[in-house]
Symmetry: C2
Subunit: 335 residues, 2 copies
DNA sequence: CTGAAAGCGCTTACAG
DNA sequence: CTGAAAGCGCTTACAG
């Protein structure tokens, strides 16, 4: 049986490489992992590398994890939220930055009915990061699975405190500030009836109200819309008749729905009703009238996330300071 | 040192459970994995389960993978496309169905600059599925990593054939058919200038043209828009002046951009220009005028995907027939 | 009906 | 400068 038969038949292991290079299995590991503190002659090193390339050697990940206790995998647990426009850029940047550091980012979308086995029970991650806080059940499972590093953890995260990693706080503040500058004092806050988002809705609406109070304005009137029916029109009519003139929306889709309803009711936007969205998604530019919206740098947030994760994995102190979201308000035609 | 000290110190292993239950390590495995062909007394079984629950035992995934050669992980490789609205439902359903069968779905978002290590080099999956075809490099890496099962594979997938798993073919056909029924014969096809989507754009536009030809209509005039500027207006003006009256769009965002441009130009929709979108995303309902669009059952596609994956993993023949996308056209105000 | 033992493919002190 | 050996925590024939 020739070498090529053997490689076709079963996966190449470190033993195969050692045999081909005429060294021990340990030496193969030292060379390929660039283990510090080992002095390997240049000739041996070259022979090992040549053999591993020639045979197409890829270390068995499971064996590495078992032997070393480290997996270089970071699991990101995404709550059961709809995927929003900016999230993909966030993910791309985060996984690129982690990849450059030798880590793989695995995204675990948590779904409505919940998995029987959690992903970290399967993949032995070095670090598990939740965008939303973990439940006590999650924490027990994480502990039982030997996951030593978790974000957010108790030292960073108080359960009552809403998560800010996707710029949930600055956006609402800027929305209120902007509407106030444009002369609006009685404000509404529009969301879709999307139960999966309730924690974010609460956080953003709360931030808007806090800032309104600081400006001496009343709390924003929170209303749920449903984009699938015309009940939206009634909500908007109610706002208008009640004397509200400025609406902050949870995202651009909601803002578009409010604007659509206003147009159907014969209201002028922004003269009769000013509307500001959130996320600066494509629809904000596409809509007629174009939507004022909150823009933030999701790629920078992704890089910041990666930096946080790497600090945690390496046991270094977490970088201080706010995430570099660079939240700004883009004014267009709707305000 | 008490038991609780020990469990706090290090992860519970099968040996700990065996000791606590007074059986051998093998028996623990037999009970917990429900290994067929073993006859274990009910009392022993109960003792093992009780001990494993009490100690909070979770098997070490890496050790299981190494020993058994199977990981129960399916990696889904997602090309570098923007996430579209329906995709989340697809993912949710697919991962739920796989989870019920004891598998974990890990989604690997491929990013623009490519990872140095591919995810399957890290997690030892039983199956890797690509939404787009794999490159020769990918295939070499998959082979070297010992991934035995891949979808799509050579028997299923011819490189020239576009992927249909997200309903890329039926939608364009229905768009053309519908526009024709509404009396439109000279048609345009609108896409955003999004290079990451080029393969899907080509597939959908090609399908639309094929169906147009079957109906005796000329090919659809393909134009790229950019939602960030007003060049869209010029494209739409050109279409109108050139006598085109019906536009099929790659997705609802593009359709909304065409409608917006038409409105700015003083055209009536649908009288002067009829526009039909694709995906039936929220914006289709929200827009004024509301957009006709292509709806498909992304959750059913997700379940179908899971069934395909499980067949492949278990070495059963793949289910025959088309994916149950149930593609339909929803007529609203824009046509 | 149950247990002792080999083996999966690595990493990593340790001995030379 | 390099190799023999133990060990990571499981699974799984195999022997009793």
């Amino acid at each position: 049986m020739s070498v090529s038969d053997a490689t076709a038949r079963r996966r190449v292991t470190a033993s195969d490489v050692a045999k081909a290079a005429g060294v021990s299995r340990a030496t193969v590991g030292f060379v390929l992992n660039q283990t510090p503190g080992q002095t390997i002659s240049e000739r041996t090193r070259a022979r090992v590398i040549e053999a591993s390339v020639r045979l197409g050697y890829r270390p068995n990940g499971a064996a590495q994890v078992l032997a070393s206790g480290r997996s270089r995998i970071v699991v990101l647990v995404v709550p059961d939220w709809p995927i929003e426009f900016r999230f993909r850029a966030f993910l791309d940047e985060a996984s690129l930055a982690l990849d450059e550091a030798g880590y793989s980012l695995v995204t675990h979308f948590r779904h409505p009915h919940g998995p029987t086995r959690r992903l970290w029970e399967t993949v032995t991650p070095d670090l598990v990061v939740g965008i939303a806080p973990f439940t006590p059940d999650d924490l027990a499972s994480l502990r039982a699975c030997g996951v030593k590093r978790i974000l957010p953890d108790q030292t960073l995260f108080r359960p009552a405190e809403p998560d800010t990693s996707l710029a949930s706080i600055d956006g609402p503040r800027l929305q209120v500030e902007h509407l106030r500058e444009r002369g609006h004092e009685r404000l509404g806050y529009a969301v879709f009836d999307e139960p999966r988002l309730s924690s974010l809705v609460t956080a953003r609406h709360g931030a808007a109200c806090t800032h309104a109070a600081a400006l001496g304005l009343p709390a924003l009137d929170l209303r749920c819309l449903d984009y699938r029916d015309r009940a939206t029109d009634e909500v908007v009519r109610g706002w208008h008749e009640g004397g509200l003139t400025g609406i902050a929306a949870y995202n651009d889709d909601v803002a578009a729905a409010v604007v659509g309803a206003a147009l159907r009711l014969g209201l002028r936007v922004p003269e009769d009703l000013a509307v500001v969205g959130h996320d600066d998604s494509p629809i904000a530019t596409i809509m007629v009238p174009a939507l004022s919206s909150i823009h933030f740098d999701s790629a920078a947030l992704g890089r910041h996330f990666a930096a946080l994760a790497l600090s945690r994995v390496n046991g270094r102190p977490l970088p201080a300071g706010d995430p570099p979201a660079n939240v700004t308000l883009i004014q267009r035609e709707s305000t």
